[in-house]
């Protein structure tokens, strides 16, 4: 199952971070490929995002359902494609950061039978996602500033493509999730830190 787990330290208080994360209108436009979103009620919304692969872009609508709301520390949600056969789930966590974090950006261990192919697939995909020299190397991760305290933001996301093409799509989704998570996290942190 394609999954990404990302942690970032933010130079802001947990209360400030929660205030930002708790209102999706704040960070929705920061999502890579964001087009628009529509809030139906406190728990249900529909998101429209644009994905790009090798010159082809496609717009997808995703229904998001908030399944758990634990202010001021956690939000859990599920995803379901409206026209595409995929589902997913995720969680945002806002934690008081320890005084020093050596490498807050280290990703969680990645389980799964395709792990040995992952590096090669990332190279393969990035060569299509990027246009110029330097393709093939994962984007540099921003390391959190150690020793500043502040807030630790964590996001876990799992997405599974189903249907007849699901097994193939799942090969493509993993590296794309990594890239989207890295880019989006960077923008959210920048916004929180003002």
């Amino acid at each position: 199952m394609p999954a990404v787990s990302i942690e970032r330290q933010v130079a802001a208080s947990p209360e400030q971070a929660w205030a930002f994360i708790a209102d999706m209108d704040n960070w929705a436009p920061l999502l890579t490929g964001y087009e628009r979103h529509e809030r139906f009620d406190d728990s249900r919304s529909r998101w429209t995002v644009r994905g790009e692969l090798a010159g082809l872009t496609r717009v997808a609508d995703i229904d998001v359902l908030i399944t758990r709301w634990e202010a001021p520390t956690a939000i859990a949600f599920t995803l379901e494609g409206v026209d595409e056969p995929f589902t997913g789930s995720g969680e945002f966590s806002v934690l008081a950061a320890p005084p020093a974090v050596a490498d807050a950006a280290a990703p969680a261990a990645r389980p799964g039978r395709w792990a040995r192919l992952r590096t090669a697939l990332v190279r393969w995909l990035l060569s299509r996602l990027t246009k110029g020299a330097g393709a093939g190397e994962p984007p540099a991760r921003d390391h959190a500033v150690a020793g500043q305290g502040g807030t630790l933001l964590r996001c876990n996301l799992e997405v599974t493509a189903g249907g007849g093409s699901g097994p193939i799509m799942n090969l493509l989704l993993g590296p794309i999730l990594d890239t989207v998570a890295e880019d989006t996290a960077g923008r959210i942190i920048a916004a929180i830190e003002g």
Partner: protein, 541 residues
């Protein structure tokens, strides 16, 4: 003439199959070569295609138990010509194409294999199987620094070869197989063809300059000696000591040129949006004689809202949607008007028919209609069996309701479906003869037998519709050439120093599309001839 910013013996405009074939041929015959590509990607229209060359009497046909002769190939081509074929060029093509494939197999790392795809009219005299070839999977990673510059296709996003489909043994949805190919950076279809050609050009020291748009030929004392180009907003003067080869594709993305030259409804392009007739305009300026200007390689296509390629609405290829049982195509009257399982090109010829009484094109707006039984078994564009039914498919519980939803005559559609169902259940189509040709059945359901591979009633609601459009892979009119691929002058003779190939040249096959690869086969062949002629500098004397 001096003061060139760049120069080479032979300048090739365009990096598709015609351009690369010309470049490799010119280099082989002793010329220094420079390819100019206006976009930032190499591969042209060929790279986004299936990548098949249609090669009569080729050296791989025996692999599928087929054989061919010069006379059979010419008979078939003439039969399809509708009186518009250039017979001399046709003979040049038939006599040269197989040698070009041998040349490419010797001078590049490409390996070709024959497919069992029938010609598009295999029952006509001279029709065959085995003339359509495909390149085997190619290791694109060997392109090195140029790997990101290989144009990728929105139509074939995963590494498969049409040889996989033909062998019937390869499970293209096996994630382990696809993951292994991706890890090895293997590519198929048009990617493989173009990666192989580009790799050879790279190895042989052929310069490939991207982001350089040729704008105007430079003519000195009646001879084409170079061209003016744009790169990064700056003008460049590029000298050609022996010749310039126009291989810059068609003009299907130029609204004005299409309006001026293409009869009837404007087709929706399936090619990269850079084919705006640059080569045609330069040839006109140089006094070239034009030919076949009203024709295009058509492809019945459909759209998924929100999909774009290079910033333009993507028009998708169709196959299963027209060939599989349980589907029909109707016009606004709810009437069928064509054998849906004909080639994508021939379906469009029917869509372009004029009704002189009403003076409109009654089939230009058409819809593919399927029933639930179709969606349970077959692919529809990107939707696979079991997937959610996307909103871009119009859905209704009954045929009548579906007709109303899409603005089609409800009585007409009900009558059409009833008649089609009655006949399809018996495996016949007395109206349009669907299922009678081996080609009709080739892309149908291979688990069924005979005409039932493509014929089946629409009898299981709900029902679904998607608009079908007249699409085009590329236009096929441009400067006329002789057997040396020299551009003919509208004042007689040739335009010295100017050659053309591919969709930029006047196609010698008129309005016909003989089989899968009918565009790339001639492109490779006349590209090869153009490169050889240009290297010889034969028209400079």
């Amino acid at each position: 003439m001096a003061d060139w910013d760049l120069s080479a013996d032979v300048i090739v405009i365009g990096s598709g199959s015609a351009g690369l074939s010309a470049a490799l041929s010119a280099q082989h015959h002793g010329a220094s070569v420079m390819i100019l590509e206006r976009s930032d990607k190499l591969g042209g229209t060929s790279a986004v295609s299936g990548g098949l060359p249609w090669i009569p009497n080729n050296n791989h046909m025996h692999e599928v138990g087929a054989s061919d002769t010069r006379e059979e190939a010419l008979t078939y081509l003439r039969r399809l010509s509708a009186g518009k074929m250039d017979d001399a060029l046709c003979e040049t093509y038939v006599d040269t194409a197989a040698d070009v494939i041998r040349f490419l197999e010797k001078e590049t790392e490409l390996e070709f294999v024959a497919l069992t795809i029938p010609d598009y009219h295999p029952e006509l005299e001279g029709g065959k199987v085995g003339r359509s070839l495909t390149a085997r999977l190619f290791a694109a990673g060997t392109l090195g620094d140029l790997r990101p510059a290989l144009r990728m296709s929105p139509h074939f996003p995963i590494p498969v070869s049409l040889a996989d489909v033909a062998d019937g043994k390869t499970n293209l949805l096996d994630p382990a197989l696809i993951a292994d190919r991706m890890a090895k950076d293997l590519v198929g279809t048009g990617h493989a063809l173009m990666a192989g050609l580009i790799k050879a050009a790279q190895d042989k020291g052929i310069a490939m300059r991207r982001g350089v748009r040729a704008r105007q030929l430079i003519i000195d004392n009646g001879v084409v000696v170079g061209l003016e180009a744009e790169a990064d907003g700056k003008a460049l003067r590029i000298g050609a000591r022996r010749g310039v080869v126009i291989a810059s594709g068609g003009f299907e993305w130029s609204e004005q040129l299409v309006k001026d030259f293409i009869y009837g409804p404007e087709p929706a392009p399936l090619s990269p949006p850079f084919n705006e007739g640059d080569g045609l305009r330069m040839a006109i300026d140089a006094g070239a004689e034009l030919g076949n200007m009203s024709e295009a390689w058509y492809h019945a296509s459909m759209r998924i809202p929100g999909e774009e390629y290079e910033g333009r609405q993507l028009n998708r290829l169709t196959s299963a949607e027209r060939h599989s049982p349980g589907s029909i195509i109707v016009n606004a009257k709810g009437r069928r008007f064509v054998n849906e399982a004909l080639s994508y090109h021939d379906v469009c010829l029917a869509m372009r028919a004029l009704d002189p009484l009403t003076f409109d094109f009654p089939n230009a707006r058409a819809w593919v209609i399927v029933h639930q039984g179709y969606l349970d078994r077959y692919t529809f564009l990107t939707r696979m069996p079991g997937d959610p039914v996307p909103r871009w498919l119009t859905r209704a519980d009954s045929v009548r309701e579906l007709a109303t939803a899409i603005g089609v005559d409800a009585d007409g559609l009900e009558q059409t479906v009833a008649r089609f169902n009655e006949n399809a259940a018996r495996g016949v189509d007395p109206d349009f003869h669907r299922g009678e040709s081996a080609y009709d059945r080739y892309y149908g359901d291979q688990e069924r037998e005979g005409p039932f591979q493509t014929l089946g009633p629409l009898d299981q609601g709900p029902y679904y519709a998607c608009e079908l459009r007249i699409g085009t892979i590329g236009t096929r009119g441009g400067p006329r050439v002789n057997g040396k691929a020299e551009v003919l002058s509208n004042r007689g003779g040739i335009v010295p120093g100017l050659y053309a190939a591919g969709n930029a040249m006047a196609s010698f096959t008129g309005m016909s599309y003989p089989g899968a690869g009918g565009t790339i086969g001639p492109a490779l062949t006349f590209g090869h001839i153009a490169g050889r002629s240009a290297a010889a500098g034969s028209n400079r004397s």
